[in-house]
Symmetry: C2
Subunit: 339 residues, 2 copies
């Protein structure tokens, strides 16, 4: 173990798109775990679009980060020292830790990672927060029936790629929006979507939907917001459901963007629009992870990861999310798993 | 009985706000009821905001009216001649009939009106479509709990004034938006709203809501759309519910208006937005009417009507809806009830 700990802190609040100087790497000694704490070496950390919200000085569902303080992330790491009954050195754990090489964390805030079941990083993706979000968001809020049409934006991302596959499994026609030829191939090939729409190749998303979803849209799972969402609303069927999971196209805006008013259309369709937040499903996390792990194990659910190497590159990995650079789950690999 | 029948037809499709020449009065002989039909003399006819949608050449939940054909409305009328087993001359009935002095209607399309229970015109308002819309929209879709805050737009109108009272009855704090000093007095006095906000007196609806709904908005019942709705969304509480019943501020627009994008806020609140259409509740209409009639009879539910005299003034009564000229239900009195 190196005796230096690098920690990425929020250097200043971004104005619009975050830039390099939004982040700063600080060096310090590796922390010593206090009573009840364990020292965790970061193996992988997760960067996620919702983190942009935590950079604002505004209350929302996640507490804002303080300037000068460490950024936080879902981390899979290895226990190096433990002052907590539950953990021993060598255990692999999941927790909300720092963007850092090492974090001293209270033992009760961690959950175990079964590396026989899946790779450690999968617990940040398909078996973790994004996978559960897809699972509950689609099946609970979206409530799809066989034969219905499900449209997914951000369909090649961590959440979207899982939604696509669960919707196919539920017997639906599935249409996914994504932003490159490679992602469309991924959608229509490996993920089994009926149609992928490359939103960089057309501006007329309504027309694209008329072709891809000729029977209209029964469930729209929204990770993105903006014009794709406007188009999906315009093609919503009677009793259609919109699941609002993310609005990545808006997260860097400093003022509220305008768009076509859409509520009138909901009267004709009696549509339901529901915002979801994964923490509301916490009592059922275990159920979701078991089910997702079973599907992964039997090959019904596949996943990809975009792995950025090196803690120092975590800011770039985060910024890449807004450029659509990731396919599947974007993670940062910080150290090799020697377990 | 006069032997001339006046019928108001859609003379041409309006472009934006309908004008006088949107409508035309045609004179013809009083129709003769065929087998299974009854001849109904119109006593009152209902003009409603949703009718603007039927003037468009666009499919929606209600079929568009054809140019040159009679406009239709909820009508309370008296049976003059009957070729249908169920009805006798002198019966008072409710049906979807013409904007006309007389309509020959199929007997099975009519429902009875009990004039001992309430005045005939009440069946177009508090005991009819607007009352039922308020009842199911608030209690089913809005699902308010005691102590919650319910905000209503168009609160002095036919639907809104009923929503306000049912929400108070449900133990809620109730805030209503309306557009004149007289309407605010009506809201805060007769209807029992906690606060009425005169939207003609301020542009800052968010600030107005901060004062009127200091604990935020749990249920927003929307009859209006536009900036009032934007403000209500911005003050929605966690697990808040928005019931989209009407969007009268948009109905005369020929292009889709723009407004601030609101879906992002639904993630933080896990809010639900639901469009409602009263016909979906048809199997339970009788239940609603019985309950509403009971509340009217025991004084728990009051209602007002704005009565325009004369069939020839029905177009003005309709256009007045968009100017907010009505308090409570706008009806047109066509003939005296001689029953």
């Amino acid at each position: 173990m190196d005796d230096t700990n690098r920690t990425i802190v929020l250097a200043k609040r971004p104005d619009g798109v975050p830039e390099k100087d939004t982040f700063e790497i600080e060096e310090s000694d590796v922390p010593s775990p206090e009573a009840g704490e364990v020292l965790v070496r970061t193996l992988y950390l997760s960067v996620d679009p919702y983190m942009r919200g935590r950079m604002r000085d505004a209350e929302s569902y996640a507490e804002p980060w303080a300037v000068g303080e460490p950024m936080e992330a879902g981390v899979v790491g290895e226990v190096l020292e433990s002052n907590h009954d539950r953990w021993d050195a060598g255990d692999v754990v999941l927790g909300d830790l720092h963007w850092a090489d090492y974090t001293a964390a209270s033992g009760h805030s961690l959950t175990p990672v079964d590396t026989d079941l899946a790779s450690p990083s999968a617990y940040l993706g398909v078996l973790g927060m994004p996978g559960r979000t897809a699972y509950f968001g689609l099946l609970d809020a979206g409530d799809p029936s066989p034969g219905e049409t499900v449209v997914v934006s951000g369909a090649a991302g961590a959440v979207g790629s899982t939604v696509v596959q669960i919707a196919k499994r539920a017997g639906c026609r599935v249409v996914g929006f994504a932003g490159s030829e490679g992602k469309i191939e991924y959608l229509e090939g490996e993920l089994g979507a009926d149609v992928g729409i490359d939103y960089t190749e057309t501006d007329d998303y309504r027309e694209a939907l008329d072709d891809a979803a000729p029977d209209g849209v029964d469930v729209y799972f929204d990770n993105v917001g903006g014009p794709i969402t406007d188009a999906a609303f315009s093609r919503l069927n009677v009793d259609g459901r919109v699941v609002v999971c993310g609005q990545i196209s808006q997260y860097n805006d400093e003022t509220v963007a305008s768009g076509p008013r859409k509520l009138g259309g909901l009267i004709a369709t009696r549509g339901t629009v529901q915002g979801i937040l994964i923490w509301d499903y916490a009592p059922r996390f275990e159920q979701a992870t078991e089910q997702l792990a079973e599907w992964v194990a039997n090959g019904e659910l596949t996943y990809r990861e975009t792995v950025t190497e090196g803690l120092e590159n975590a800011p770039d990995a985060f910024l890449g999310l807004f450029e659509g650079e990731n396919v599947g789950k974007q993670v940062v690999k910080v150290a090799d798993f020697e377990g």
